[in-house]
């Protein structure tokens, strides 16, 4: 297993609530959820850097909305 390093993270109350809500919803602990967020962010960034676009599609109407990454 790869070596892991510890860091301290400072969050506002609202951010902590959002994190805790997501942890409960996804059945993950805080570390696992934040690692997932990092993986997803890196994945999306890599695709966008290659010139691809990120869309959300309404399953019913098939209407697409592009997610703008800044």
């Amino acid at each position: 297993m790869a070596t892991k390093r510890t860091m301290t993270l400072n969050l506002t109350d609202a951010e902590m609530r959002a994190l805790e809500n997501l942890c409960e919803k996804k059945d993950l602990n805080k570390t696992a959820l934040l690692r997932q967020a990092l993986r997803l962010y890196q994945f999306v960034e890599a695709r966008i850097e290659k010139g691809e676009k990120l869309f959300f599609e309404d399953d019913r109407t098939k209407e697409k909305a592009e997610v703008m990454m800044l």
């Binding site: 297993m1 790869a2 996804k26 059945d27 993950l28 602990n29 570390t31 696992a32 959820l33 690692r35 997932q36 990092l38 993986r39 997803l40 890196q42 994945f43 890599a46």
Partner: protein
């Protein structure tokens, strides 16, 4: 690249003895060279034998189209796509690339939950009983499934994994691994592959029995 290896064992079919092997948490240049210099010639030789024996093209190993160098180049450094390889006697015996980020479970009991999806997994040609009789080593597929389960546990997904199976491997995932066969994926991009999923309980049972059939 920093590579961590774990000690594992494979069964040498010819001698009936177990042999020491290593599970690496990476696919390195060594694996890609083995694939090009050792796997591909053996695979082509096996396909030639199938062709000469009159075996129809649709029954040939479908992984013959896979380009591990291209796959690895695309995914290197991506946290969402950890890779593994199995080495025995200095030769690569199996390779696997996972997706631990973008796929969700489909089984009703765990629908929507995070899981580790086995994006690509392949056994060296000489270990595949449908190509070589007898195969050289047994246990490669089970060890790689075990690594996928462990990766799922480390991510906090409790052993949940999923994959699309090439037709030749359906029996292995259903019987040996105890995964649930959800059937042919309706997505035409995956047809005619079956989609298999493993629950936490199935993962625990597979690990408990040591990954043996």
């Amino acid at each position: 690249m920093s590579v961590t290896s774990s000690a594992v064992f494979l069964l040498n079919v010819e001698t009936g003895e177990t042999e020491s092997a290593e599970l690496w948490d990476a696919i390195t240049e060594q694996q890609l060279a083995d694939w090009e210099a050792e796997w591909i010639p053996e695979l082509l030789g096996a396909i030639r034998r199938l062709h000469r024996a009159g075996v129809p093209r649709h029954a040939w190993p479908q992984s013959r189209h896979w380009d591990w160098r291209k796959k690895t180049a695309t995914l290197t450094g991506m946290l969402a796509h950890p890779a593994f390889s199995l080495v025995c006697r200095g030769l690569t015996q199996g390779m696997m690339i996972l997706d631990n980020t973008t796929k969700r479970c489909r089984l009703p009991a765990q629908a929507g939950k995070n899981m580790v999806y086995v994006e690509y997994v392949e056994n060296a040609p000489w270990n595949r009983p449908e190509l070589f009789d007898p195969p050289r080593y047994r246990g490669v597929g089970s060890l790689l499934v075990r690594a996928a389960i462990e990766s799922s546990r480390q991510e906090g997904f409790k052993g949940r994994i999923g994959l699309h199976s090439l037709p030749q491997a359906n029996t292995f995932y259903a019987r040996t691994c105890g995964m649930t066969d959800i059937g042919v994926d309706p997505d035409p991009g995956y047809s005619p592959m079956h989609y298999f999923e493993m629950t936490q309980e199935q993962a625990d049972a597979f690990v408990e029995k040591g990954g043996k059939s």
